[in-house]
């Protein structure tokens, strides 16, 4: 034998440690400087947005100047319309995400740990995963009605697979040496699940969670545009139908801000959950 399996295990262990460290090559530190470099282009964009409709380059009915949009936005904040709809949308997205966590974590741990179980379930999961959540909206509505449940369901569906896939791969890439060490110390199967496999998979699960939260927000907006009487998506869609384009753009901008804020929050949470990996990492992208 040219390579002993012992050596192979060590290589695999070293490799998986290496991978753990560098799986998410995101850096902070230079963050602010990078952001500042991007500011001029953004300013140009906003200036164009303000000027073009005023100069007649764009039709102000479809593209109202930025200042008009901001005015509409402030008005929507003042009346509480915006806050209420943001609250509704976030509540749906959060519920869907939370359900997805509750399902994907145990399922993913089982699928990642037991090859038999994965063989049984994998094809089913792949089939469901490749079915668009929006295509399923009519089904959810038929099953769950037009109310909250169908919106929560679509958020769940949109986010569950990101969590599941990353939980499975996290569990599978747990360094076998950790399992061996835990067993040598007499850890029970439950101890090994809770104290080794789960924490070792946290970096992977956290990365999946970040994608899942984004997907959940996208899903809720989409669903609200297609079939809802409230929420940010509904607000944007409705403003378009009523040709209240300043309101529409205000809604779109709100979504952008929410997206940025959520991303920062998630990156920060992820960095905290994986602080043991060494230097602080994580920057929005």
């Amino acid at each position: 034998m040219s390579v002993t399996s012992e050596n192979r295990t060590h290589d695999a262990a070293a490799f998986s440690l290496w991978r753990h460290r560098f799986a998410f090559p995101i850096r902070m530190g230079s963050g602010l400087a990078t952001i500042l470099k991007g500011v001029p282009l953004l300013v140009v964009f906003f200036a164009f947005w303000e000027a073009a409709p005023r100069l007649g380059l764009l039709n102000p009915i479809f593209f109202p100047p930025l200042s008009v949009v901001v005015e509409a936005w402030l008005e929507m904040i003042r009346t509480g319309v915006l806050g209420r709809n943001i609250g509704i949308s976030l509540q749906r997205a959060t519920l869907g995400f939370a359900l997805a966590v509750a399902v994907a974590l145990p399922l993913g741990v089982l699928m990642g740990r037991y090859a038999r179980f994965e063989q049984l379930t994998d094809l089913m999961v792949q089939t469901l995963r490749n079915t668009s959540q929006f295509a399923l909206l009519p089904v959810f509505i038929m099953l769950l009605g037009i109310g909250e449940a169908s919106k929560v369901a679509i958020c769940f569906y949109a986010s569950v697979f990101f969590l599941l896939v990353n939980t499975i791969s996290g569990v599978k890439s747990v360094d076998p040496l950790f399992l061996k060490a835990a067993r040598s110390m007499g850890a029970s199967d439950l101890d090994i699940f809770v104290k080794v496999i789960l924490p070792a998979s946290i970096p992977s699960i956290a990365a999946g969670a970040r994608l899942a939260v984004k997907a959940s927000i996208v899903a809720v907006i989409g669903a609200e545009m297609l079939a809802a009487q409230s929420g940010l998506g509904y607000l944007i869609h409705q403003s378009q139908l009523m040709m209240e384009t300043p309101d529409m753009y205000a809604g779109i901008l709100t979504l952008t801000f929410i997206g940025l804020a959520v991303n920062y929050l998630l990156v920060a949470l992820e960095a905290r959950a994986t602080a043991w990996r060494g230097q602080a990492e994580g920057a929005p992208h």
């Binding site: 040219s2 002993t4 070293a14 110390m185």
Partner: protein, 275 residues
């Protein structure tokens, strides 16, 4: 009194269907790794295990530690045959095997947690063992923030914190630089001198094998058996200087002589496989 007794321990790995390796030019899916190991280790003895790569040293430790089952034969720790990891046996690995998401303190507590030791006692014990290895003040560091030598100290502290009767060490210092290795060898001897637990220590370094041991067990090339046992009658406590003595040189030469043929055999084994 005997602490560990191996009676005709054999191990053959059977590869999964479809996988084969070439042994002596013959394709097979069965790899004999240990072919009848007989060995008795006394209570409180420090035994080092040397042998060519692939001679089954790690597998033998796994069998003693209850992590792998022997294909036939029996390993006894105390009076009972080993069937699963025993709470009175601890294991130290070459790659430290610390949990990177736990601090030094929490890593040691892991071994105590899974034994159901109450929290306050866990704390106190973990601190005491870190201090024993000169790691006071490093309790809250994560492994990534510790040097290799410190990580291995934590791993050894973790193993010893459970008061094991048997300590299995698989090339624990192989990944460390020469100075750190010397220091840790000294620390290990100092602590072993106090607690006198039974240690089985695998190493590729003949110097290390002789310096630490009461007896050096030399294994044959795969499939491994005990080729020869060399008594190390050097006085204790031993300091590093002992390596410059004639007695040490003689023992080193003796171990190398026994080992040489086996290493050559093992190399031939690999060459055949590579073709």
């Amino acid at each position: 009194m005997d602490r560990i007794r191996l009676e005709d321990v054999r191990k053959t790995f059977t590869l999964k269907a479809g996988q084969t390796v070439s042994l002596g030019g013959v394709p097979t899916n069965r790899i004999p790794v240990l072919s009848g190991v007989d060995l008795t280790i006394r209570k409180g003895e420090f035994v080092t295990l040397a042998g060519p790569s692939g001679s089954g040293k790690s597998v033998l430790l796994d069998i003693i530690g209850g992590l792998t089952e022997a294909s036939s034969g029996t390993a006894y720790v105390g009076a009972t045959p080993v069937t699963r990891p025993d709470p009175s046996t601890a294991y130290v690995f070459q790659q430290y095997a610390l949990f990177p998401w736990r601090t030094a303190q929490q890593n040691i507590e892991f071994a105590l947690e899974v034994r159901g030791v109450p929290k306050a006692e866990r704390r106190e014990r973990a601190r005491r063992y870190l201090a024993l290895f000169g790691l006071r003040g490093f309790e809250d560091r994560y492994p990534a923030q510790l040097s290799g030598g410190m990580q291995q100290r934590v791993a050894i502290a973790r193993a010893l914190s459970t008061d094991p009767e048997v300590l299995l060490m698989d090339e624990p210092f192989a990944a460390l630089d020469a100075q750190t290795r010397d220091i840790l060898q000294g620390e290990l001897l100092r602590i072993w001198d106090e607690i006198k637990t039974t240690i089985v220590f695998v190493t590729h370094s003949i110097d290390e094998a002789v310096y630490l041991a009461d007896r050096v067990v030399v294994m044959t090339a795969r499939p491994g058996t005990v080729k020869e046992i060399i008594e190390i009658d050097l006085p204790r406590p031993r300091d590093l200087e002992i390596r410059n003595t004639a007695a040490f040189a003689r023992l080193r030469g003796r171990v190398w002589e026994v080992l040489r043929d086996e290493v050559t055999k093992a190399q031939r084994d690999w060459q055949i496989a590579a073709h």
